[in-house]
């Protein structure tokens, strides 16, 4: 019963994060949404870790936090560069990745 609560919270956070990634124009907000997604995954990992009584999930969660920190660092650096070049961080104006 306890686990279900954790999983429901994680699912809600994940959906909010996905919404933020898809719908937000501001790049910083998109990065923050990605953080939400990652943290929802962390919640899942820790919940399952508790359920099974092993620390593997928690170790994974620590890894995810580290990777997320790195990702945010890179992402913010890119946003900073975009802002310097264009004076804007609106993602819908960026179409350089068009194939």
């Amino acid at each position: 019963m306890l686990v279900v609560n954790f999983l429901l919270l994680a699912a809600v956070l994940f959906c909010i994060g996905v919404y933020g990634v898809i719908a937000r124009r501001n790049a910083v907000l998109v990065l923050m949404s990605i953080e939400l997604i990652l943290n929802s995954v962390n919640l899942n990992l820790i919940a399952f870790s508790l359920m099974h009584g092993s620390v593997d999930g928690q170790v994974f969660a620590l890894y995810v936090i580290a990777v997320a920190a790195a990702e945010v660092g890179v992402g913010l650096a890119m946003v900073l560069m975009i802002y310097r070049n264009r004076r804007s961080i609106a993602l819908d104006e960026l179409s350089e990745m068009k194939g």
Binding site: V18, V21, I22, A23, R24, R25, V30, L91, D92, L94, S95, E96, M97, K98, G99
Partner: protein, 864 residues
């Protein structure tokens, strides 16, 4: 007790390394071909060096072989002294009393594995026994003298280096063949000689006749070579199993074949042996110029004279005789020589003696007389082999090599210095004895040796053949042999008279005229000479040089022209100009007949010396002590215990166990039978565990009557021939002159001989025509109507199929598939293009959508 008394045979470095004798000339060939042109003597020195080293090695091997035989015989005598009375038990079944105490002398074999596959293995190397050693020495010796002779004779030739290269390889081929330990090496040497004979006979191939003669020699010998291959195969399949079982050897090994043929094994049936012997003898017929394949031999005179001398004395033509002598047990059993039956070999030999001798009468070319004489003498060797006189045949090879090469080289000397490169006895010779005393002496000595006059070499060998043939019960062939000896005396008298006596004619008299072989060159040359005489002396070299230019370049022509202009007094002196470039000449020299230089005279004098004295190496009539060749060359017909034969590896000495006394008792009766000479190897099946390598041939006891008979026949023949020649050529007796024109039977006979029994006609026009033309026509028809039609049909069908395939499969299916995939890719790309908007949020949406879809699929799959 003393039963294990062992016999040590001495060996030696030269015997164990006899393979070097053949290897050195083979290497020399490549050196001459490779760098010969850059050497100071144009490669001739390499050829001479190889021959000298081969001769030294062969002499060493000969000496050591004699020591080896002596060591065996000496030891036997000691053993005999120790256990007196057991002497005969050493070789209890030896046929003849004189041989009874002589042990078998094992050949010294040293080989390397040449080829190995599925248990079959044969080597390349040397097997030195008496027969091999005597021929090794002989070939090296004759080759060396011939090369020395060639130094002067072919000097200035345009292919001087190649000539020496081929000559060296030719000797190498013979040496390799002679020392062969297995049939494969024998074939190798045999074929090397075939190739080199082709190269040498066709040395002056610019002349159509020469290249034709070379081809003829090559093809005729190849006809026989088929027999060699077939015979080797037959003997291999016949003897292989026996050889593997008993000797730990195989069916290519010559010793194994010898032992197998005499083993009386069921596999050695008569038919296998007859088939093998007949096939191999066909090879010998081709190579040794026996009837009916002798026709290539006279044509082989197209080559330079040293080649003829080498070809016709110690190499090429005795290869066939050597082949028969080498695997003699096969012929012995196959042709039932032991029964005294009329063997195929003897018949062919007898026919060859007579037809060769008769043909020699109608030849005008001195070399062709000698060629037919060689044919006839080879007939003697075959006759001897065919009647069981093995030793006499080998001995005749030995002596014949000396006097026949002496005769050929004398002929070369005559043409070189006496008759101006002509070999025509009737038009260009005569009276030469005054001009060429040394050559004349050599010629006479060799002629006397050839005709078998006491005490020259031929007497000892040829009379031994005739004697043995008669002794073995072949009375008719005995008379054939005597008739051949008489004919030999007659045709040699004719040749001698025409060359050396009477009035000088043609070139011998210093006249200028063309000869057959070089007529074109001579015509051109005569024009040049005319120009020389008319023009001022200073300018003469130039026309001579240009006229000669297409032969050898201007330089040679220049020197020749200068020289000829210098000594103009003799009409014929300008010959040097043209001749210099064309073939063999040493540049300017005085015209008219004169004696040859030392490089030519020394070899022929040495050869004449041997022609005089080599007969004493096996002078049977003088007693046993003189029978050196018999002692050292003839293999002993002794049963050798196989396990001891096997125990001795290459180069090791053979240990023979002296059988103990028990065996001796059973031999009493057989020893009695031995008096008749019909027991022992070749007659009886060898004891189990033993093997024979040579049949117990019998030897005729020379009697004074027979010697006088043969000498008398030769003397009468000489008397008749001299009288006739003097009357016919000297006094131009009108009863004799034109006899062949007047008398119908004589003219028929003359024409028959002059056309060489129409054998060439038979081969070229009848057989080749009959076989080749219908076949050619049939083949043409077949080609046009069957093959071409088929090919056309196939082509048409293929073309139609191709077009259909192109239109339907290629264009529609394959191209369609390729194009289709392209289209699909292109359309898909276009369809997916809008998704690549470059908007990060859209990419994120796609990513999550896809993840969601996969998650749903995963859930569905796992739940259900």
């Amino acid at each position: 007790m003393l039963a294990a008394e062992a016999l040590e045979l001495s060996s030696g470095w030269f015997l164990e390394n006899a393979w070097l004798i053949g290897l050195i000339p083979a290497i020399g060939f490549f050196i001459i071909i490779g760098v010969g042109k850059h050497l100071p003597m144009k490669g001739a020195e390499v050829g001479l060096a190889t021959m000298v080293s081969s001769l030294v090695l062969a002499s060493g091997a000969a000496v050591q072989w004699v020591q080896r035989t002596d060591s065996a015989d000496g030891h036997t005598e000691e053993a005999a002294g120790a256990i007196s009375g057991f002497v005969r038990s050493l070789s209890p079944q030896a046929a003849e009393g004189g041989h009874a105490s002589e042990p078998f002398i094992e050949p010294v074999v040293s080989t390397w594995v040449w080829w190995q596959n599925s248990g079959l293995e044969f080597g390349i190397g040397s097997s030195a026994d008496g027969l091999a050693v005597i021929l090794l020495w002989l070939v090296a010796f004759i080759s060396l003298l011939v090369q020395i002779f060639s130094l002067d004779y072919v000097r200035g030739d345009r292919r001087y280096t190649h000539f020496f290269a081929a000559l060296t390889l030719f000797s190498g081929g013979m040496l390799i063949m002679v020392m062969a330990e297995n049939m494969v090496q024998l074939i190798l040497g045999w074929e090397i000689m075939g190739l080199c004979s082709f190269l040498l006979i066709g040395h002056w191939w610019e002349d159509y006749d020469n290249s034709r003669a070379a081809l003829k020699a090559f093809f005729t010998v190849r006809v026989g070579d088929v027999g060699l291959l077939v015979g080797t195969a037959i003997l291999f399949f016949g003897s292989n199993q026996w050889a593997v079982d008993n000797l730990d050897s195989n069916g290519f090994d010559i010793a194994a074949i010898q032992a197998w043929a005499l083993s009386g094994d069921p596999s050695a049936t008569n038919w296998v042996l007859i088939a093998g012997a007949a096939s191999l003898f066909i090879a010998a017929i081709g190579k040794s110029g026996q009837f009916p394949l002798h026709t290539w031999l006279p044509d082989a005179m197209a080559g330079p004279t040293p080649v003829s001398a080498l070809l016709h004395s110690s190499t090429m033509v005795v290869a066939g005789v050597f082949l028969v002598a080498r695997i003699y047990p096969v012929f012995w059993q196959g042709f039932n020589i032991d029964d005294g039956g009329l063997s195929f070999i003897a018949i062919i030999g007898g026919i060859t003696i007579v037809i060769g001798a008769l043909l020699a009468f109608v030849q005008d070319d001195v070399k062709k007389v000698l060629a037919y004489s060689t044919v006839s003498q080879l007939g003697y060797m075959m006759l001897a082999l065919g009647t069981g006189a093995w030793l006499a045949a080998v001995f005749h090879i030995f002596t014949h090599a000396f006097f026949k090469s002496a005769l050929f080289l004398s002929a070369g000397s005559i043409s070189h210095s006496g008759s101006h490169h002509s070999f025509d006895m009737k038009t260009d010779m005569g009276g030469l004895r005054k001009f060429m005393p040394v050559t004349f002496t050599v010629w006479i000595v060799s002629t006397l040796a050839l005709t078998g006059v006491f005490p020259f070499a031929g007497f000892w060998s040829k009379d031994e053949i005739i004697d043995n043939v008669g002794d073995h019960g072949y009375t008719f062939l005995f008379w054939v042999g005597l008739a051949g000896a008489a004919l030999t005396a007659m045709y040699m008298t004719r040749a001698t008279y025409l060359i050396f006596f009477g009035e000088p004619r043609g070139a011998a008299a210093g006249e200028l005229h063309g000869d057959e072989e070089h007529s074109e060159e001579f015509e051109m040359e005569t024009l040049t000479v005319g120009a020389n005489i008319n023009a001022p002396a200073v300018s003469t070299p130039v026309p001579a040089g240009y006229a000669d230019g297409d032969h050898d370049g201007v330089t040679d022509g220049l020197t020749g022209g200068v020289g000829s202009a210098g000594d103009e007094p003799h009409g014929g002196s300008s010959h040097a100009a043209g001749e210099d470039g064309s073939d063999h000449h040493e540049g300017p020299h005085e015209s008219g007949p004169h004696e040859s230089g030392p490089l030519i005279l020394v070899p022929i004098v040495i050869l004449a010396f041997f022609a005089l004295f080599s007969g004493f190496t096996n002078a049977t009539p003088l007693g046993e002590d003189w029978e050196r060749v018999k002692t050292y060359v003839e293999p002993r017909p002794v049963e050798v215990p196989i396990d001891q034969y096997l125990a001795s590896g290459p180069g090791e000495s053979l240990r023979l166990v002296v059988p103990n006394a028990e065996e001796d008792e059973g031999q009493g009766e057989e020893a009695g039978e031995a008096e008749h000479g019909k027991v022992g190897c070749g007659y009886d099946v060898p004891e189990p565990g033993t093997a024979c390598f040579f049949p117990a041939v019998t030897h005729a006891e020379p009697t004074i009557n027979k010697i006088f008979l043969s000498l008398g026949v030769v003397a009468v023949a000489y008397a008749i021939a001299i009288a006739f020649n003097v009357a016919y050529y000297g006094r131009k007796n009108k009863h004799l002159n034109g006899l062949t024109q007047r008398s119908r039977p004589l003219r028929a006979g003359y024409l028959f001989l002059e056309n060489k029994y129409y054998l060439d006609y038979l081969y070229e026009n009848v057989i080749v025509h009959a076989i080749a033309h219908p076949i050619a026509k049939g083949a043409y028809w077949f080609n046009q109507h069957v093959l071409d039609a088929t090919v056309d049909q196939v082509g048409e069908t293929t073309k139609k199929t191709g077009i259909w395939v192109y239109e339907n499969i290629d264009q529609k299916v394959i191209d369609g598939a390729v194009d289709g995939s392209g289209h699909v890719a292109s359309e898909t790309g276009h369809a997916l293009q809008p998704t690549q908007s470059g908007k990060v949020s859209q990419y994120g949406a796609l990513l999550f959508g896809a993840a969601a879809v996969f998650a749903i699929v995963l859930v569905i799959v796992n739940v259900s």
